[in-house]
């Protein structure tokens, strides 16, 4: 089995990635079988589509986050960029700007924020966790001051937005198609393009990459611009689904859920390894789990507890299978 672009032939490394991913796949399969056997209407086409539809936003964001983490970064601005970018689009459309044009402006704003973040990380060399934490807060705060309201609604007569929210292609909801397209493009990008290989190289050992003459700074800047645009795409998915955008999502645990999916799927925070497949594996586990617990009508508290225990379990099993040694811990965490 060829692994998603680790660029290493090191057996130990390969074992780590495989096992973490396999543990999560195994847990997903077990959960899927248990729910299929015990819950009515779990194993139906409608419910499987509902699972995919319900993780489309989380999954899209996680693809962007995974892309950044592979390059040994972290992007905590994603949820802020998502809500502020889309809210900005709605806000300017209320002045009479055509909505489609307003969305383009929103995307440009998101890209500009991504560019700024990239510059802060790559050129000012502020550690990404601090840079993105501060920028997220500033972006959200500015948005709050400008828009005044938490919830902004899109105009109700936009055909393409309705199609995103409720349209289907070959029976598959448009939002799932968009998530799949973003994931496929990112997968192709990371594995098949020179740029993708450079991202892995930079993530694996930034100093070595720079010493050998790779353009690491432009690479990092481009990464943050792309992740901001992916975040904006997730926001458009949300707007299609529920007709409005709620900027209070910034205050929710969404950004941590996104990180969780990435780490759980097996992309190490030390960078240079993993790929889109890991993100999809992590996303699907969270999707199956949430869906099953919603059907079982578990209380909010017990849902959080069960989710935490399963996630902790996956990480613990991985730690047991792959005890840390000098080689695996040398790159450290963020």
């Amino acid at each position: 089995m060829k692994l998603a672009g680790s660029g290493k032939s090191d057996g130990a490394r390969m074992g780590i990635k495989m096992s973490q991913e396999l543990v999560v796949v195994a847990i997903s399969v077990i959960l899927f079988l248990v729910f299929s056997a015990t819950l009515n209407n779990f194993l139906t086409q409608g419910n499987i589509i509902a699972i995919l539809k319900n993780v489309s936003i989380l999954g899209t964001l996680a693809v962007g986050m995974g892309f950044i983490v592979v390059g040994r970064g972290i992007d905590l601005t994603m949820v802020a960029v998502m809500v502020v970018g889309v809210a900005f689009s709605i806000w300017i459309s209320t002045w009479g700007v055509d909505f489609t044009l307003a969305v383009v402006c929103g995307a440009l704003l998101a890209a500009a924020i991504g560019l700024f973040t990239g510059i802060m990380v790559a050129i000012a060399e502020i550690p990404p966790i601090f840079a993105t934490l501060a920028i997220a807060s500033s972006v959200y705060g500015s948005g709050r001051i400008v828009f005044a309201s938490d919830v902004l609604y899109a105009p109700s007569n936009i055909a393409w937005l309705k199609f995103i929210g409720s349209g289907t292609i070959l029976g598959i909801p448009m939002v799932v198609v968009i998530f799949a397209a973003v994931a496929a493009l990112m997968g192709f990008f990371l594995r098949k393009t020179r740029f993708g290989r450079l991202v892995y190289a930079t993530g694996d050992n930034p100093n070595a990459a720079r010493t050998t003459g790779l353009p690491t700074r432009p690479i990092i800047v481009t990464q943050y611009v792309l992740s901001a645009l992916i975040a904006f795409t997730a926001g458009i998915i949300m707007l299609g689904l529920v007709t409005g955008i709620d900027t209070r999502l910034y205050n929710s645990s969404l950004i941590y859920d996104v990180l969780l999916v990435v780490v759980l799927g097996g992309i190490g925070l030390s960078g240079g390894q993993g790929g889109v497949r890991n993100v999809i594996v992590g996303t699907i586990l969270v999707g199956i789990l949430t869906n099953g617990m919603t059907i079982l009508n578990f209380s909010y508290t017990s849902q959080n507890l069960i989710k935490s225990v399963i996630l902790l379990g996956a990480l613990a099993i991985d730690a047991i299978i792959n005890p840390r040694d000098e080689q695996t811990s040398q790159s450290g965490d963020i």
Partner: protein
């Protein structure tokens, strides 16, 4: 002659008395009690600690109160914690330390500020709670009767989902935040209706955290399990549009009745017109704000009354809004309130 003198004297006396009387009426044209009222409000300090100023109801409250404050010369400051409970605690502590004449508070849940409110009352600061109560009762509460709200909403579903013509007896309760006052008390009202209508089946009872996307996800999942679902009730119109979107995507808008409550802003009416929601029990937040403004005036007028010595409750009116009356004053816009 004497008679003439007497008459003249009497006339003069009468004139004097009349003019004197005129003078006194001129002095008394000031409305009774007006001067002390104006005096009691002037220069007073009021601090409002909301849950988040980004919500429609909060914005309408503050517009009304600021107008009231500008008219009578007291100050009102908003300390917005923006949905962050820890920031809210800090805002409350700061407000208590400043010793204003009145603190207005919208509690994120029943426990978080409970001790702080006791502290404020002990420090002699009067406290008015709006729409979301704390476990600690203070000088005044103005807002919804949430138990009644739960009864109204589930009662509405009972109308549609009981009897021989009902699609099914299955209903869903999309809660908000389980520790919030609205949530806790609505549940009491809901349970009363469920007890009175034993055929109603509550098939799902999950909090959507006031988020439309979460409400959509829960609804979509529940609809897969129960394709014959009859009704959904929620806690805030801006969140239940998500439930409406899931029902619309499933093509079940005629089958599923969606009932919620809201502040009465125009966006809620739009959601009714778009078919995302069927009924909103509208608590008209601008009217709530006027009632609260009356309470502000009352509390500031009586510095002699000790903080916490009297405890007043006032539940505002609730209007049932559907397609037939989603117009006019049932759909306010913030700019029109200003």
């Amino acid at each position: 002659m004497k008679l003439f003198k007497n008459c003249l004297f009497a006339g003069l006396t009468a004139l004097t008395l009349l003019s004197a009387a005129n003078v006194t009426t001129a002095q008394e044209t000031d409305q009774v009690g007006r001067a002390p009222y104006l005096e009691s409000l002037k220069g007073k300090k009021v601090i409002f600690v909301p849950i988040s100023q980004g919500m429609d109801l909060n914005q309408s409250w503050v517009v009304v109160w600021q107008r009231h404050a500008a008219r009578y010369g007291f100050s009102i400051e908003v300390r917005d914690p923006n949905g962050d409970t820890n920031a809210g605690i800090r805002a409350m502590q700061g407000a208590i330390a400043e010793k204003p004449d009145l603190i207005i508070v919208q509690n994120p849940d029943v426990q978080t500020y409970a001790r702080l409110l006791k502290q404020a009352q002990a420090a002699g600061i009067k406290v008015l709670q709006v729409n979301m109560q704390s476990a600690t009762q203070t000088d005044s509460y103005v807002g919804n009767d949430w138990i009644e709200m739960g009864r109204l909403e589930m009662g509405e579903l009972a109308k549609h989902c009981t009897g021989p013509n009902a699609v099914s007896h299955k209903v869903v309760w999309l809660a908000g935040v389980q520790t919030g006052a609205a949530n806790i008390y609505m549940r009491t009202g809901i349970d009363e209706v469920l007890k009175a209508n034993p055929e109603l089946q509550l098939v799902s009872d999950q909090p959507a955290d006031y988020m439309s996307e979460k409400a959509r996800q829960i609804t979509e999942t529940v609809l897969q399990q129960h394709p014959d679902l009859c009704g959904i009730m929620g806690i805030w119109d801006n969140a239940e549009v998500g439930a409406g979107a899931a029902v619309a995507a499933a093509g079940k808008q005629d089958q599923v009745t969606i009932v919620t409550n809201g502040a009465g802003s125009a966006t809620g009416c739009e959601s009714i017109k778009n078919g995302l929601l069927d009924v909103i029990f509208n608590f008209n937040s601008p009217i709530q704000a006027e009632i609260a403004a009356q309470q502000i005036s009352e509390l500031l007028q009586h510095p002699e009354r000790q903080a916490g010595s009297e405890k007043t409750i006032f539940f505002g009116p609730i209007t049932r809004v559907d397609k037939t009356n989603a117009t006019g004053r049932n759909c306010w816009k913030l700019d029109e309130l200003k």
